[in-house]
Symmetry: C2
Subunit: 597 residues, 2 copies
């Protein structure tokens, strides 16, 4: 039975009713959170998007018919209630915004009955995620998820307003694009009109936003859906959202400036966090040297120290061997962890090995100043002393060392640093530490493809001083690329783009593309560049991750209304699914495994 709301008009959302409305008649509508009959009075907690309010039903007020309806109420029934606002008769509920008032019902309509939901609608649900995702429409009723989605909507709105005020135009780029083999795996869409041809869903609007700069739109942005058909990790979705922007006639400082102001406004107006400007900047090299990471979490110290010089003549072959192979020896100082039990240290050694270390050298300093170390027998007293001094080692400290090629050393110590901070709870979770990482390497070596690949993308501009390196030592060239890092997570990145023919040609050459290949891949952009291209630059944020950090959630699934799970399926709608034979016939495609049968 579902009653009509005819003749009723909601006057307030639940928590819009306050003590200032006492004595007034209001109409509220929402879901029954819970209902209980206490000595002939029925108490109902009514819930809507804004929160909850208590309704009381007494037979004298709502008549027998109304009271009978109130007696039927169960969780998740949808009702409309007309009643008078009163000061709460019982004890004030401090946990509720509306805890000091209640509504004495005069009229009730049951707009929709409800079966018992498969799990309770409550904050911090203990129900396992799989079941919640199957009933996502119920899961989304939980106040914590509602808050996340509301936060996301607010954040996006602030972003758009800010960018519009800064002269950015919001321009839609196509979802049905051409497949370009560079980058991750494309999602394909078979064309019915052109049998044998396919569209691809965009991995990002990169080429189109650069075209828009060629067209003279000067400043573009888009909250853009992007797609990557990759095997999903915890933090990935097949479709995800970017705050995407591109600007003409700018250099690095201009891009960073407008984005710093965006972040300041965004964090202030959503979660009340004051981002102090300018945001710290650090070159990629400094970030690697100090934190072993290109996205350092600067909420705590425990920085890496390069002790190569100190140990270069010592007797410990692991150290000197690494140096002889062109590597380095670096350490971190886990302050006050000198008494860490052997078992725990062994776990750290195992952790380090997961990141490619052959081993992990350690030295703990007792409260009495004595050393316990995995390598003391290989070094003299003076050598050990020098090492401890170099590491600012004090009584009660634990020193951990990695010796290998730089890449491994950075990776091991960077991750070890995080692991120790996490397990010892060294991180102040109230902090929001932003950091620009700049001057990324232009290239990185792809073991797989046995060639240089673009670290950011092939249109990234080298920094002016390094243009000569393209001829002599391209691997050492730095890029005008920048990432914005928040609490150790990369939330966005971008670069100044190449707008000069000769530089672009050299880039492609270094990436091992023939002229034909580069035109095959990026033809329409390269053609556009022939007709007058402005210097331009851009940046894109991963919106899902950004909101996740703002909401202090651990998974981006908690900030996406209808997320997919690891196998890229939707547990609620069962997408993807089989389709009618006729649909495939129209597309001129067949399933290979079926064909084989």
């Amino acid at each position: 039975m579902a009653e009509s709301m005819k003749g009723l008009h909601r006057t307030h959302r639940c928590t819009q009713v306050t003590s200032s409305n006492i004595g007034e008649e209001v109409t509220v509508m929402g879901w029954v959170q819970k209902s209980r009959n206490k000595g002939g009075i029925i108490f109902v907690d009514l819930r809507d998007r804004s929160g909850m309010i208590q309704i009381i039903f007494e037979a004298a007020d709502v008549k027998a018919e109304g009271f009978a309806k109130a007696e039927k109420l169960r969780s998740e029934f949808v009702i409309a209630v007309v009643g008078k606002v009163e000061a709460r008769s019982g004890a004030v509920n401090e946990n509720l915004l509306t805890g000091d008032i209640e509504i004495r019902a005069k009229e009730i309509r049951i707009l929709s009955e409800a079966q018992t939901p498969p799990f309770p609608i409550e904050e911090n649900s203990k129900t396992k995620e799989e079941l919640r995702l199957k009933y996502r429409y119920l899961d989304l009723r939980r106040p914590d998820l509602q808050e996340n989605i509301i936060l996301r909507s607010k954040a996006v709105n602030i972003t758009r307003t800010f960018l519009a005020e800064e002269g950015f135009l919001e321009i839609e780029t196509p979802i049905l694009q051409k497949s370009t083999p560079e980058g991750a795996r494309d999602y394909l869409v078979p064309s019915r009109v052109h049998p044998g041809s396919f569209y691809a869903l965009p991995q990002s609007p990169q080429l189109f936003k650069q075209l828009l700069m060629c067209s003279g739109f000067d400043r573009y942005f888009q909250i853009a859906k992007c797609f990557r058909d990759e095997d999903l990790r915890a933090d990935r979705q097949p479709e995800f959202t970017q705050i995407d922007m591109e600007l003409s006639f700018v250099d690095v400082d201009d891009v960073l400036d407008v984005n710093e102001r965006l972040l300041k406004k965004l964090f202030d107006e959503t979660i009340g966090i004051d981002v102090s400007l300018p945001i710290q900047r650090m070159t990629w090299q400094e970030a690697m040297n100090r934190y072993g990471s290109d996205k350092p979490d600067t909420r705590f110290g425990m920085e890496l120290k390069d002790v190569s010089e100190t140990v270069k003549d010592c007797g410990f072959g692991v150290f000197t061997g690494a140096l002889e192979n062109g590597g380095s020896v670096r350490g971190i100082n886990a302050k006050g962890q000198g008494a860490m039990p052997r078992k725990k240290i062994d776990a750290l050694v195992a952790f380090a090995k997961d990141f490619g270390a052959k081993g992990l050298a350690y030295l703990s300093i007792g409260e009495d100043g004595s050393y316990k170390s995995s390598f003391s027998k290989f070094m003299t007293e003076e050598e050990l002393e020098a090492l401890v001094t170099a590491m600012d080692g004090e009584k009660g400290d634990l020193l951990l060392f990695a010796a290998d090629v730089n890449k491994v050393v950075y990776d091991v110590l960077g991750n070890l640093r995080l692991e120790i901070a996490r397990s010892l709870e060294l991180i102040d979770k109230t902090k929001y530490n932003f950091l620009w990482v700049t001057e990324f390497p232009l290239f990185e070596w792809s073991q797989e493809q046995n060639r240089l690949v673009a670290m950011h993308h092939p249109f990234t501009m080298p920094i002016e001083e390094d243009l000569e390196l393209l001829d002599t030592n391209p691997a050492a060239a730095r890029a005008k690329a920048y990432d914005i890092v928040l609490n150790g997570t990369e939330i966005g990145g971008g670069s100044i783009r190449i707008y000069q023919d000769d530089v672009q040609e050299k880039m492609f050459e270094l990436l091992g593309f023939t002229k034909e290949e580069s035109y095959e891949r990026f033809g329409f952009l390269l053609n556009a560049f022939k007709y007058g291209v402005p210097p331009h630059a851009g940046l894109a944020y991963g919106l899902d991750r950004l909101i996740m950090l703002m909401a202090k959630e651990d998974s981006i699934r908690d900030v996406i209304a209808f997320p997919k799970v690891k196998d890229a399926s939707c547990l609620m709608s069962n997408a993807p699914d089989v389709v009618d034979k006729k649909q495939l016939e129209e597309l001129d495609i067949a399933l290979v495994s079926k064909t084989k049968e």
Copy 2:
């Protein structure tokens, strides 16, 4: 050769420089519109997104090196200029915002050279669209297209801000969905992880936005990309954009009210049109009776008149025959067209036949009051007189009649009315006439499927008084559905949704679905409805068409940055295109025609 902009910082866009800047030094950057050397002085029109400004180069100001650069300039070169603002030395150019000033260049850098573009970058281009679409990035430099894209960005921004202020949350729904066979043809996306399964791109966020109401989000909106794999007509695109919204705890008036205020704000703040509220409302039946259309253009009269009663006993078999078959006889009065030559009338008859008329009866009234008519010999003087009176016929008028089943009569006269108004230029193009069309039929008969189909969609609520008709005469039931019409074009539409189990079940029954079939199609929504669903309603605008009307363009391609053409391909990027064999293998699909070879 491309110079760096290092050390320069743009101070103004071209038309931000005004006479108030005279005497100041400014830095502008943009594209050379044209360049001419007049007696040793080089005049350059520099263009950016904002418009144009004149730059003058004299050797004494820019040195020999600078002057040499200025001499090299050709159309579409990208340059940066530093110079002093002066009052224009020559005649003031009234056509330019900056026509009273010019910049005397002190420094010039050529940031990018340009080949001669394949067509001139100018307003109201005469170049054929195919070539312009191939070089869309150049076409988009034309000021008229730039204005359209800027208008679109502005309109979308105003819409978002308004809706956010009205308590709507912007929530993203998935692009990778499950295919539902109802509606138009889906675009499919093969799943790699689940071979043999497919995602579908959404035709609209319909089911998801209703789920969001079930989740209690109360008010949702999204500027949503939608996809339909249909054969393209003039103003269709395979991907298009909707302003999509859904509201809980509302009835028709609430939806119309918030949308009227949206439209008022939108038209005022973009193109300065004052929409007077409330917007006129008309039932579907009245719209058909008066205009022969469910999207009437009310900018002119020439309304349909039902003369069935007048002619029911006349001697003209075409009229009486139509009435005997349950049809009607209706006419329009083309005022003052009594002297229309026979050839033109014949063309109108042919036009009417295209819309299903077997013929078109006409009667012209001479300036002397005499009648010339295709049917006068079948009717008496009195019958003719009565007919002319019924049509308010006066000297010099042309009366046109259709007699058939209502559907054909409406269609013929509705279109004839538009055709005559267009060819006689009766339409005041400065007008923006809005109209709500309400109370649409709930069902229409599908000849093809030989069953009732939902006119709006299967979740549309019947109007209360007609609920009984579902049992007795469902084809006569009216829906709580509404369209918003602007100048004879439907720009949006929506409905109140069914939220009652029993009504929904009856709907599916009438649509000929078994319970199993309805669950197969809409299972997750029907399941969601079991757990408490609020009364809700929604509306969606076709954004592309809306902007097209605001911009007074004839094609939606002129308001989309990167549109596709009739065969759903992109002439610029060549999407769709063939893909690597490896990509198809990974998806476990094969091309049928290739397989056959």
